[in-house]
């Protein structure tokens, strides 16, 4: 059994981080350059971590599978980043941001981590502004804010509908500066395919150069994974096509525990699916819910009518009706399930019946079309490109889609996994969002982890490692891991069946969405747990991966990632089946209140489930980290 000590400091909630920073070990400046740190991934968390650790003097190696660190999918985040600045004088505070986040997560995150996130949020905005991130401003020159779901204050900072892009370019510029200064060794087109564990500690990685196909070994004193979430296990999602779970999955298979895989976020406002060929779903930012109103026809027979012809009293603004206190700005899990419910009632709109309206006619009357364009113009443009519809004239049609994963590798308060020396940042870890993430909090967490947490906490580990003690990359553990990677590549290329990878991937996606999507139940999960292993076996029997190992081979890359998803999907369903309650993004139909809200079971499930790999063909072990709430009372989430 893995040892899961969360290492939460004692003392009052608001003092924990400050005290911890003064108590953890330091590495002196002359010694920092003797330590090498590998950072895998260069999204918000990875790029900010790599840049900051290099600024501190550590020798950093950064690995990205993209052609440039600037491509990481943080770039696509639209709406904004939360921070408890209280610039609007509307009653915000670190405590309120903490409280909203922990309540938004349905009381399934660690109090101390979430409070730290709220504390450092204010530093993030300072840091980004200093880097030149062009946040929206008011005429007086001060920073502007808007509202996001799950909050009753305006604390979201934004750069038009491209906040993630601007924050990532800020982190990328900091990283580029350190690459230019020779402090970071940048490896692009480099995919991590295994973690190397020596003497129980993570001490390196195995990497495939995606252009030459060459497999190389890299040793370090510590390894940081900042490789994002695993939502592409559903095939169709708002993730980039290349987003994958391979780095965290292979780390799991080397002993890192995987926490709460069933906590997946389905975002309520995405453009509906239009055909079987579809490769991705596109998000329409949550910020649109500031001014757009969500509705479906009251009567099912009106669902095919021109929406502009349906009078006010024929429309059901169901979020405003069901959740009057938060209205259209209720949290994502709640808004998504409400959309599912009205569609299940036969009132969904669009050709498939799987859609609801997001209507701006009232906002256009209030703000004028130009006013709406200034706030959301680029989002209306994206919508137009995809659907060929003008949302200034007809309401947008939206439907929930997989968007984020709250689960991830288990980490302690220092962001270190149960494997010493392995740190996990950003969406790849599980720690701060509980069972549901609030809008504009992913960017906050990625940058918090990279700029303001890991620079302190990694020292606590490295101070215990003798400088120069890292193993050489020709140690037997490295050679064995490299051989395992080469064997898997060979096995994939040997497949001369008739079917491309995409066929299996689509079938996995259908299984996951049908049985482990917005609503889950025992029978469905048991079906998925039978069908996924069968599909996996079929994949290995009849997949065809063309091309060679020693060249750019996108089929091979995709095959390896899908092979991992075929395993991860099973763990996700297993976790969903074991968690006999509903909470946040995990909705078990057996556990609901009569009005359809989540029924948590705090007596039996107020814990983190951290799965531990036991080898191929053997069931993983479900370890438990109890969630001890010392400062907040776990209560029924109420947005009414």
């Amino acid at each position: 059994m893995a040892q899961l000590d969360p290492k939460v400091p004692s003392g009052p909630l608001a003092d924990k981080w400050r005290r911890h920073k003064t108590e953890i070990k330091l590495v002196n400046p002359a010694n920092k350059r003797k330590y090498e740190v590998i950072v895998v991934g260069a999204g918000l968390a990875g790029a900010s971590a790599a840049a900051t650790l290099a600024e501190l003097g550590y020798k950093v190696k950064s690995f990205v599978f993209h052609d440039s660190p600037r491509r990481a999918h943080s770039i696509a985040a639209q709406g904004g980043i939360n921070a408890a600045k209280n610039y609007q004088n509307d009653g915000d505070s670190v405590y309120r941001l903490f409280y909203d986040t922990i309540k938004g997560g349905d009381y399934r995150s660690r109090e101390a981590n979430t409070h730290r996130l709220a504390e450092v949020s204010v530093n993030i905005i300072d840091q980004c502004v200093a880097q030149g991130v062009p946040f929206a401003r008011e005429y007086g020159g001060l920073l502007a804010n808007r509202s996001f779901g799950g909050a009753q204050v305006s604390r979201t900072f934004y750069a038009r509908g491209q906040t993630g892009q601007q924050l990532l370019l800020g982190a990328y510029s900091a990283l580029s500066r350190m690459v230019g200064a020779g402090a970071v060794e940048l490896h692009t087109y480099s995919e991590m395919l295994d973690l190397v564990v020596v003497g129980g500690h993570a001490k390196g990685i195995i990497v495939r150069d995606l252009v030459s196909g060459q497999i190389t070994r890299h040793a370090a004193d510590a390894v940081i994974l900042a490789t994002g979430g695993y939502g592409n296990v559903f095939n169709l999602s708002t993730y980039a096509r290349g987003s994958n779970a391979t780095a965290i999955w292979r780390a799991y298979k080397r002993g890192a525990c995987f926490a709460n895989p069933c906590y997946t976020q389905i975002h309520p406002t995405c453009i509906p699916v239009s055909g079987e060929y579809q490769s991705k779903l596109t998000l329409m930012s949550e910020s649109l819910r500031n001014d757009g109103r969500i509705w479906v026809p009251k009567k099912a027979e009106d669902r095919r009518k021109d929406p502009n012809s349906i009078p006010e009293d024929g429309r059901d603004y169901y979020l405003e009706r069901m959740y009057p206190a938060f209205g259209n700005l209720c949290p994502r899990d709640i808004a998504s399930r409400a959309a599912k419910r009205v569609c299940d009632e036969g009132r969904g709109v669009g050709p498939s019946g799987l859609g609801v309206y997001l209507d701006f006619s009232e906002a256009i009357q209030r703000l004028t079309e130009a006013g709406v364009r200034e706030r959301y113009g680029n989002l209306f443009d994206i919508y137009h490109e995809i659907t060929n519809e003008n949302a200034y004239q007809v309401p947008m049609r939206i439907f929930p889609a997989v968007h984020y994963t709250m689960g991830g590798l288990w980490v302690d308060y220092n962001l270190m996994s149960n494997l010493p020396g392995l740190f996990v940042l950003g969406e790849a870890n599980f720690s701060d969002h509980g069972a549901n993430r609030l809008g504009a909090s992913a960017l906050m967490q990625g940058l918090a982890d990279g700029y303001f947490v890991i620079p302190y906490t990694i020292g606590d580990y490295l101070a215990g490692q003798k400088p120069g003690s890292r193993p050489a990359p020709d140690a037997p553990e490295f050679r064995a891991a490299e051989a395992a990677v080469a064997a898997m590549t060979g096995r994939l290329l040997a497949g001369k069946g008739g079917e491309p990878v995409s066929h299996f991937y689509k079938r996995l996606g259908h299984l996951m969405w049908q049985y482990c999507g917005m609503a889950r139940n025992r029978a469905g999960l048991e079906t998925a747990l039978r069908e996924i292993p069968a599909l996996r076996e079929e994949f290995w029997r009849s997949v065809r991966v063309p091309g060679a190992a020693d060249t750019l081979n996108q089929s091979l890359e995709q095959a390896g990632r899908v092979a991992d998803f075929l395993e991860l999907g099973e763990l996700l369903c297993r976790d969903a089946l074991a968690r006999e309650e509903s909470c946040g993004g995990h909705f078990r139909e057996e556990h609901q209140y009569p009005d359809g809200e989540c029924r948590r079971d705090d007596v039996n499930f107020a814990h983190v489930a951290a799965w531990e790999y036991q080898g191929e063909g053997r069931a993983p072990v479900r370890n438990i980290e109890p969630l001890n709430y010392e400062f907040v009372k776990m209560s029924v989430r109420n947005y009414k």
């Binding site: 999918h73 840091q127 230019g180 991705k280 049609r397 065809r544």
Partner: protein, 269 residues
């Protein structure tokens, strides 16, 4: 409402640049594709063609793509001679089949520039852009040292203009569209974004000189004011920023030529 009314299915022929590796000879190969939904994206068409090739035992077409929503800057196709295809202000991934006629023969090539060598088929090496950024495309601001964010108000107009420039997705269409394969719009976007902000002033001269030197070293050409760059730019970044870059560059060059070096040994100037 295209999604409501998919219209009639299309058949097209793709004429695709195939090149096995860097420095190898390339050629066009033709691939017919039948009965396609007009709402399919251009990259999804390549997915479908590639699945067909795989099932026939042929090697699929390598093409760069990732976010498929026009923001990561990975996709980089020249479609019928135009970087990112027929529509203004979108990336290749935001191009849909409804923009093509039934029966069309569509030519697909990689971005072509000496500084963007072909890796395979439609994939090119654009690391030269990273090298330009590493030379000076940043404001030095160590984590932990930043002043309070609202300490320095920035006029909304300046912030908005900086944001116009900052939207650059780093795709390289500006280079592919330019007969000189110039990276001036790319450099101008970064230099203008940072130079318009008060935080960017301390390094303003160094930045423009270093980034221009890195662009020259990477083999990008000069600007002769053709403005093809902003016409091809998926974010429609204006060539006016190139004028701003030129002003910055000339001023910085003069100041650099007459700069008085501080002398630590002399105990002050």
């Amino acid at each position: 409402m295209v999604a409501e009314n998919p219209g009639s299915l299309l058949s097209v022929t793709l004429r695709v640049w195939r090149q096995a590796g860097p420095g190898r000879a390339g050629r066009f190969a033709e691939y017919p594709a039948k009965d396609l939904d007009p709402n399919m994206s251009f990259l999804e068409l390549l997915d479908v063609v590639n699945d067909g090739l795989t099932m026939r035992g042929e090697e699929p077409i390598a093409f760069a793509h990732d976010c498929r929503e026009g923001i990561c800057g990975t996709c980089s196709l020249v479609i019928d001679g135009k970087p990112h295809g027929p529509h203004r202000g979108v990336a290749s991934c935001q191009t849909y089949l409804r923009s093509f006629a039934n029966g069309a023969v569509i030519t697909v090539e990689p971005f072509r520039a000496a500084a963007f060598p072909v890796i395979k088929d439609l994939v090119t090496d654009r690391s030269a852009f990273d090298r330009i950024q590493q030379a000076g495309g940043f404001i030095t601001a160590r984590a932990g040292s930043a002043p309070e964010a609202n300490a320095a108000p920035i006029p909304k107009g300046d912030a908005d203009l900086a944001m116009d420039a900052a939207q650059c997705i780093g795709c390289g269409a500006c280079v592919a569209a330019c007969k000189n394969a110039s990276a001036m719009l790319f450099v101008a976007a970064k230099v203008s974004h940072l130079g318009l902000l008060p935080q960017g002033q301390a390094e303003r001269d160094r930045r423009v000189l270093s980034m221009m030197a890195a662009a020259d070293a990477a083999g990008f050409g000069g600007c002769t004011n053709q403005y093809e760059c902003s016409a091809a730019c998926p974010k429609l970044i204006s060539h006016d920023f190139i004028a701003r870059l030129n002003r910055d560059f000339i001023g910085a060059s003069f100041r650099d030529a007459f700069r008085v070096e501080a002398s630590a040994a002399g105990g002050g100037a």
